[in-house]
Amino acid sequence: MTAVTAIAYNTVREALSRRVVLLFLFGALVLIILSPLFSFLSPREELTLLKSLGLGVIQLASMFICIVMGISLIPAEIERRTIYTVLSKPVQRYEFVLGKFLGGILTMLFNILFTVVAWRATPKQALDLWKGFMMIFFQMSILVSLAIFFSVFLTPFVNFFMSLGVYIVGTLSSVTESLMKGENRTVIQKGIGAVLHYLLPQFGNFNIQNKIIHPETRIINEGVYYIQNIGYAILYIAVLLIIAVIIFDRREV
């Protein structure tokens, strides 16, 4: 495991030295600057807007960072040939993939936390928001593993659009579900709907912004909902990474 943590730590260090992270921090800064401007609204309107704005910005920036970072985590090492000196050491290929994944999600977690702290969303003030951040974190963890999965056999350019495409389709899980279950659909349409619904990650289930923003809406069996979706995320990530390792194990570098 020492190799995994060393690679993860190095990945975080590399990611934080890249300009892409500045985008995240810039988003946080914009939020901080804009916060006082909403004081003219009634307290409830202000809070709703801030929640909506904050979660939206964090999710969008996270998605962008996850894809840009995830598609290059492994290919950049191959292209720069830094992988030669790593894999010629006693490092198993699965350790390399796992280290890269952990580094990726730790970078994302660091960025989310930094933004949240900058935004002053302390647990006491907004427990719901923390739940939102948690779900964004797991949603983005799936996205990082997806980008890593594609990166072991696709070019970064193709991977960017694949990851983005899967994310968009996966976010629309209610659409794929209605395609699958709709009454006036053909068998083929239902089949495509089922494949998309079950095969692609259901990113949409992690979007709980509306429930957080609007206090009148509530998640039924909230605890079960979180456990199910977090369990789903962990399982999905595990499957993606296992397949990625199987492919990467046979890949020449």
Partner: protein
């Protein structure tokens, strides 16, 4: 002696084929390579660009996979992660994480070996000192020159105190002084009992430090053996004075010598050791004075060029 003959690397029929995407044809980068490298020796792995040297090294390290054949390092099949604790690799023109400092990059590689933090610092400091980068250890690698990167590459290769080192062009980009330092370092490694697999274009250096060499071209092994065997000292040059008599010179020529007159001296090229004594006797019996008698060894460069040319002509 028994230790010396123990195998460090054994290669049997190693072959690597690639698909050339331009022509759509399979290309053999390494063709049925058989080779054995013994423990404790410096083995020179020579060949022109594209000969298959780096491909062979990458197969031995498990970075790419052979199409056919087998190879073992310290008796373990290639790709065995355990054996990587005992080996090191310095790639040609090594690239490292440029956002890290020299110290941080060595610390990273030490972590990959699970070296505890207390030892890591000492080890990193010692290695920076060994490669002459103590003063530059806290600079980021993006500020390093090519020579400094090469030095940090050598330092990372020594982080685990390896038994076997694969060095691919280790003196590339270094100035003459640094080359000598690296050459001395390789000799010191051999003295410590390490095995060095050295791929290099610096034939003079290879000739100076290697015990055995092999020459590879277009993936095929053309020659392999000890330098003494590959570079036989057959020809002898004799320089003598006070020999002007045509009869004496005729006798030397009869003994197989090629004679040239130069400023009152004669320079005799004897093609082999066997007739040298006869020529010396002829000169001395004619009251001539032998000024020098020098065995003319072929250089590695000559051997390399002639070996490659011979194959290319075919």
């Amino acid at each position: 002696m028994a230790r010396k003959m123990e195998s460090a690397i054994k290669i049997e029929g190693l072959t690597k084929e690639y698909l050339n995407r331009t022509t759509g044809k399979m290309v053999r980068a390494v063709d049925d390579l058989h080779l054995e490298v013994y423990r404790g020796e410096i083995f020179g792995f020579l060949g022109p660009n594209g000969a298959g040297k780096t491909t062979t090294i990458k197969m031995l390290l498990g970075l790419i996979f052979p199409t056919k054949g087998d190879a073992w390092i310290f008796g373990k099949p290639i790709g065995d992660v355990g054996v990587k604790r005992q080996i090191a690799y310095l790639p040609e023109s090594p690239y490292f994480y440029e956002y890290l400092t020299g110290r941080q990059v060595l610390d990273f590689y030490a972590r990959l070996f699970g070296i505890p933090a207390s030892e890591r610092k000492k080890k990193v400091d010692a290695l920076l000192d060994t490669v002459g980068l103590s003063r530059d250890g806290d600079k980021t690698l993006r500020n390093y020159s090519k020579g400094m990167l090469q030095r940090i590459g050598i330092a990372q290769a020594l982080i685990n105190d390896p038994e076997l080192l694969f060095l691919d062009e280790p003196t590339s980009g270094l100035d003459p002084m640094a080359r000598i330092e690296i050459r001395d370092l390789i000799i010191r490694l051999k003295q410590q009992g390490k095995t060095v697999f050295l791929s290099s274009h610096q034939l003079l250096e290879v000739e100076l430090i290697c015990d055995r060499v092999s020459i590879l071209n277009r993936g095929k092994l053309l020659k392999a053996g000890k330098l003494d065997e590959l570079l036989p000292s057959g020809r002898v040059e004799i320089v003598a004075e006070n020999v002007s008599d045509d009869g004496v010179i005729a006798k030397i020529r009869d003994a197989g010598g090629i004679v040239q007159r130069q400023d009152g001296r004669i320079v005799v090229q004897q093609p082999d050791d066997a007739s040298v004594n006869r020529v010396v006797d002829i000169i001395r019996s004619a009251n001539g004075t032998i000024r020098s008698l020098i065995p003319q060894r072929r250089t590695l460069e000559e051997l390399f060029v002639s070996t490659i040319e011979e194959v290319e002509k075919k």
